[in-house]
């Protein structure tokens, strides 16, 4: 008995150690760069000499404000159509069963398998040569929407496979027109999935470098600023920039987590 208990506790210790190592692996570089952005002696920052000078320099960069604004626009105006299109795609796919279903799903998600770089280059060619609009924010938004439809499609599909469409039939029998069915029954049940897809799309487009970079030319976004300044050697204000982006993304996720924890938002279909 004693040896079994001993083995069990050894196993448990091992699992905890593994868990801690995994989290260190995931987050140590991010935490390190955050830490580094607040110290003067960035090369060997121990002991730290605390400073905010990198943040001051970042704010002083002429491109920073424009980049932040552009990234935000790309995130927002990509996430809205991507979420709308993918919601419609998932609902249509689940509601109207067809034997082409597998192929249709594949076509929706295959932009995920195309390297971002290729999407960037090919949309640049298409937008510039065929549509005649190169180097515009709108072409970056359109190009990002392509990829983010695929991502939000998967996020929404994963949630909506559990939705009981007979619920819609019930509503219809009780006098609801198709539009009323959607607003009264479907949407109130599935909106957490749609919100999740919106956030994922926003963050992906906001952070996107390779697709946006090709389509924007000289227009700055936060990732292109980071990429651009890297070519002149690693500058400490880059650490500050990375920290700012991380904080923005982190607060979006933390906000969502808070909503779930307080029960204001429930993810997934609750059933009865």
């Amino acid at each position: 008995m004693a040896s079994i208990n001993h083995q069990a506790s050894a196993l448990k210790t091992g699992q905890v150690v593994l868990l801690v190592l995994l989290y260190i692996f995931l987050y140590f570089p991010l935490l390190f760069i955050t830490y580094d952005s607040f110290v003067h002696n960035i090369i060997w920052p121990f002991p730290p000499e605390w400073t905010l000078e990198w943040y001051q320099k970042l704010l002083g960069m002429s491109d920073f404000h424009a980049g932040l604004k552009n990234s935000f626009y790309i995130g927002l105006f990509t996430a809205i159509p991507a979420t709308l299109f993918s919601t419609a795609a998932v609902i249509g796919l689940l509601k109207y069963r067809t034997r082409w279903r597998g192929g249709m799903i594949l076509l929706y998600i295959s932009p995920l398998f195309v390297p971002g770089l290729l999407i960037g280059i090919s949309t640049l060619m298409f937008n510039a040569n065929v549509m005649g609009m190169s180097g515009k924010l709108i072409s970056a938004i359109i190009a990002n929407t392509t990829e983010d439809i695929a991502f939000s499609f998967l996020v929404i599909l994963a949630q909506l496979v559990r939705y009981d469409w007979r619920m819609d039939e019930a509503a219809m029998v009780f006098g609801a027109t198709p539009a009323q069915v959607f607003w009264e029954v479907t949407l109130p049940t599935i909106w957490p999935a749609i919100l999740g897809a919106f956030l994922v799309s926003f963050i992906l487009a906001f952070n996107n470098l390779e697709i946006s970079y090709y389509n924007l030319g000289a227009i700055p976004t936060l990732p292109t600023i980071a990429w651009g300044s890297l070519r002149h050697g690693i500058k400490p204000e880059l650490f500050a920039l990375a920290t700012v982006i991380n904080m923005l993304v982190f607060s979006a996720i933390a906000g969502l987590f808070f909503l779930i924890q307080t029960g204001m938002v429930r993810f997934g279909y609750r059933g009865e």
Binding site: E169, A170, M172, V173, G175, A176, T177, Q180, R270, E272
Partner: protein, 378 residues
Amino acid sequence: MDTNKFLFFFKDMQTSSYALQLVEVEKQFGDVRAVDNVSLEVKKGEFFALLGPSGSGKTTLLRIIAGLESAGKGSVFIGGKNVTKNPPYARGIGMVFQDFLLFPHKTVGENIAFPLKMKKMSATHQQEQLSWVLDLVRMKGYEDRFPNQLSGGQKQRVALARGLVARPDILLLDEPLANLDRELRKEMEVEMRRFQAEIDIPFVYVTHNQEEALTLSNRIAVMKDGHFEQVGDKLELYDEPATAFVASFLGLNNTISGEVLRQENDFSFIDWKGIELKIPTPNGIKPGDRIAYYLRSEKMHINPHGKSNPVDGSITLTAVLRDIIFKGQYSDYFVILDNDEEMVISDVPDIESLKIGGKVDVSWLPSSGFSFAADGEE
């Protein structure tokens, strides 16, 4: 085409006394004819059961009435109006589903008031109707709960209330008791008869459970392979089944089949695996034909061997008592006859003289069973 239209118009005029009328309704799924030329009238205030085994097309027929499935051919009239082409939300129906299908994000009150809200009824009127129906189903005080906070029986009541609140022309029920446990089912059966009697809205009730259909309804249609085998008063169906399927589907039956040896008056004598039995002759049967004979367990009597006192004309066979299942007011007795066949008899419990393994006499009147030409299968 024009004559057809005129005919439908004419029927439209005629049907005003019916809550529901189906005229030659058909539905085909691929190669399967799920509903095959079904016509039906349900009167106002009637409790009508659609009874059949799974796959008989009864649920498809209900969905056609609701408009959730389109009729391939034929017409559907509800409250005297031809609604064949109407979508479900323009039919004036209520429905209760097997899995209740309450809206999980709405409270009990909001769930029940949903049909009223869709009708854009005024808030005061909504409140009136809600309070009336909550009283009816005895769910006062539960308005603010969510469906996942209710028990199975309570969900069932809410589903019924939602079906009835808008006082539809007809209430459709799709196996509403199938997901409840036995005790609750008995309780809800009594309740449903009470609701139906109180509100005078016709119920069309789909079930595969003959007991439920017999308990609840006034009239029954027995369905098989997409068509009606028999439609009628429940006692008529039980006592005068029109087909072998109806005879075998209702009640607890002993099924006997054999070849006709000879005929005398209205009776045939068949060879039932070595025992010669006298049974009523079905139409057009002659010696050499095969007959299936359905004998209800409650039409038979059992007594200790030699102590039977059968009525005139009864058949008495000796057998060995294999098992007794006590049911309360009666018992089911399982006996083995001399030809090694088993029979079940429902009779009054008699613990004193009927013992397992003992010899017994089994008796019945030949005319109390139903005989049909056997269609090959047992």
